[in-house]
Subunit: 371 residues, 2 copies
DNA sequence: GCCGGCCATGTGAGCGATAACAATCGCGCC
DNA sequence: GGCGCGATTGTTATCGCTCACATGGCCGGC
């Protein structure tokens, strides 16, 4: 008997504030001004079944007669019912939401990773809460994680490209599923990252194989783990090839750094191949080389890193190492999901392979350069 | 027990899966593998008070004897108790979390706004959940909002710089507090945005006042509301000053667009002043001007928009219009909070004033240009 | 000296869902 | 033809907290 009678005269003072309080069926009174949303009991009543049956239709959905299910679903539709996620989470102990700790930056890598995670989570029906930090260090990571726990997330992803973050991650209480993305401690925590070593090796080898005698490197700031790994791989690749290892130039990821550090390279005719640790720095370098009258790739070959969307529009289109941040997000998410389901920390390391994208900024050295 | 004794022969499988079940105190049985966390009742028991008193200490905190409060807080500390936000939200109807719909982009504006919101929310004790969309249109906005509602957010912020998004926003059910950020419909929804009209006027007037006869404009893509507004204000400012209105050049926010469209400007000696609708396009223009041998600001003056962090490192440092995205986030957040507290939609428009930052890319026109 | 009223605290009832178990029905099988 | 079992559905307890109201002590005022 769902509202058998609808009285034509709702017993409501139709208001001092223009809002209409709606007379509701049954015994529930209505807070004026707040539209009452239907709950599972309403659906049950309307469908003429028990609340548990409604729950069954909405969840496992086994052991329900098709006819019953149809009636329930119809009631759901009529009432525009949506399950209250809080109530569900309270009783199941699962909120189906994840926390992400992210650097407050518009740097391409961290920002893209965030979106990659969001997309993967979305597809699996998870929501994500983010906490951004201005700097990554022990305390900021700890307090960010604490805030996320207060939001009842099922698990946490820390986008932690910087070394300092590692100290925080290591000290986290082990009772929350957690995965470190882009970098992390060697032990005790699951880590998903792009294989920086491979990426830098691909870049460096590509240039060596084109015939360059050695490769210069404009690196990222050494507080970024990735920057260090790229330096190490670049150096190892040169050494393995018996090539001379030039001094490393430390930048800060910005185009400006590429420009300024690049000025020294542009002035040195010995320099025929450069590997820049990210695309913006490659862009800066591109510019200073141009200003110095050194053609790319004729006089100098250049490889970047990241494959930002604009890279193929650089002049010339940039050969670079692509990092698949969507894949990174996907893998991080599934690893975290696994931890959540097994109920224990994992300490797996997942490596995502980067890919060399050859465009037009690399070529064999000019003949005079060899002479 | 953190290995008080390290037996040389750890009894490895004391379960079948290596997990150790910890014996807990009291009558509660323990799910093996999952550490039980303390709840409010535990605190109450330990402090020798009722659960309600614990609740009072943790919330309103009025009407509690200092001595009692101290005892409760001590118990909280001892048990490392944290209130379960789900239970609280279930009963209060407030989750203290906000939803943000954001464009899946690393564009400086939307990305910074997101962080601005996060920071403001954080300071007020709110968490944020994000949903990112690849494109903004009616359906994507609607489904994003729907997803956020399923996460039990108290209110929603839509970062909606594109026109298409407006259609979605207008169709949203009015029963959830919502604020549109950066743009929105004219009516029915609260909107917080930077005053684009003022910004473009500042830029254009600055150039006119330096003595330039007119100002060219490299605009953003017209599906962005901001782009249109900047065009309109630029045009109006020129007209008000009696200056000729040159044809507008439509870009896509990228440095590349600035470069390519700029080529035409660089070739035209009549062009002495350009207003670029964002900093990256200004950067591209800067480059093509340089390549064409036209000096900035001696031959051509240039104003950007956004004040990205690198703008002061451009060559020359860029005069630009700063948008305070942190402020934008703060204002959006407080407006939303107000809606939440009053329980009804507002349709206020809040404008955040941009600011002209004069650096070294603008100067009076060269004398020969006037002649 | 009694009573109203405020302070400090406790009690019981939900919030809206799921979990665990109980109950009912019909059917196949010996 | 009775028994047992699976398919369906209902009942009750519970998740961890806050709300509304009840209670009991202590104070001041007449």
């Amino acid at each position: 008997m769902t509202s058998a009678l609808i009285s034509p005269e709702p017993d409501v003072h139709d208001g001092e504030d223009g809002q209409t309080a709606v007379a509701e069926l049954g015994q529930t009174t209505v807070t004026p001004g707040r539209r009452r949303v239907s709950v599972m009991a309403d659906v049950a009543r309307l469908a003429g079944v028990s609340q548990q049956t409604v729950s069954r239709v909405l969840n496992d959905s086994t052991h329900v007669r098709p006819q019953t299910r149809a009636r329930v679903l119809e009631a759901v539709r009529l009432l525009d019912y949506r399950p209250n996620p809080l109530a569900r989470a309270l009783v199941t102990g699962r909120s189906r939401s994840l926390g992400v700790v992210s650097l407050e930056t518009t740097l391409f890598g961290p920002a893209s990773t965030l979106f990659g995670i969001e997309r993967a989570a979305h597809e699996a029906g998870y929501g994500i809460s983010i906490v951004s930090v201005v700097t990554l260090n022990r305390d900021s990571v700890l307090s960010a994680v604490e805030r996320l726990r207060r939001q009842a997330v099922d698990g946490i992803l820390v986008i932690a490209p910087q070394r300092e973050a590692v100290h925080g991650i290591q000290q986290l209480p082990p009772d929350v599923p957690l995965v470190s993305v882009e970098a992390g401690p060697d032990e005790g925590v699951a880590v998903v990252h792009v294989d920086q070593f491979l990426g830098a090796e691909l870049a460096t080898r590509h240039l060596l194989e084109l015939g360059h005698r050695t490769v210069w490197h404009i690196a990222g700031p050494p507080d970024f783990i990735e920057a260090r790994q790229r330096i190490a791989a670049w150096r190892a690749t040169l050494e393995a090839a018996g090539a001379r290892v030039p001094p490393v130039l430390l930048g800060d990821w910005s185009a400006r750094a590429g420009y300024e550090l690049g000025a020294r390279l542009a002035a040195d005719p010995e320099v025929t191949a450069v590997f820049a640790a990210n695309d913006p720095m490659a862009l800066g370098l591109l510019r200073v080389l141009h200003e110095a009258g050194r053609r790319v790739p004729d006089d100098v070959s250049l490889v970047g890193f990241d494959d930002v969307p604009e890279a193929s529009y650089f002049a010339p289109p940039l050969t670079t190492v692509r990092q698949d941040f969507m894949e990174l997000g996907r893998r991080s998410f599934s690893l975290l999901l696994e931890e959540i389901e097994r109920g224990m920390r994992s300490s797996t390391h997942v490596r995502v392979a980067p890919e060399l994208v050859v465009r037009e900024s690399t070529a064999p050295p000019a003949v005079r350069a060899r002479a």
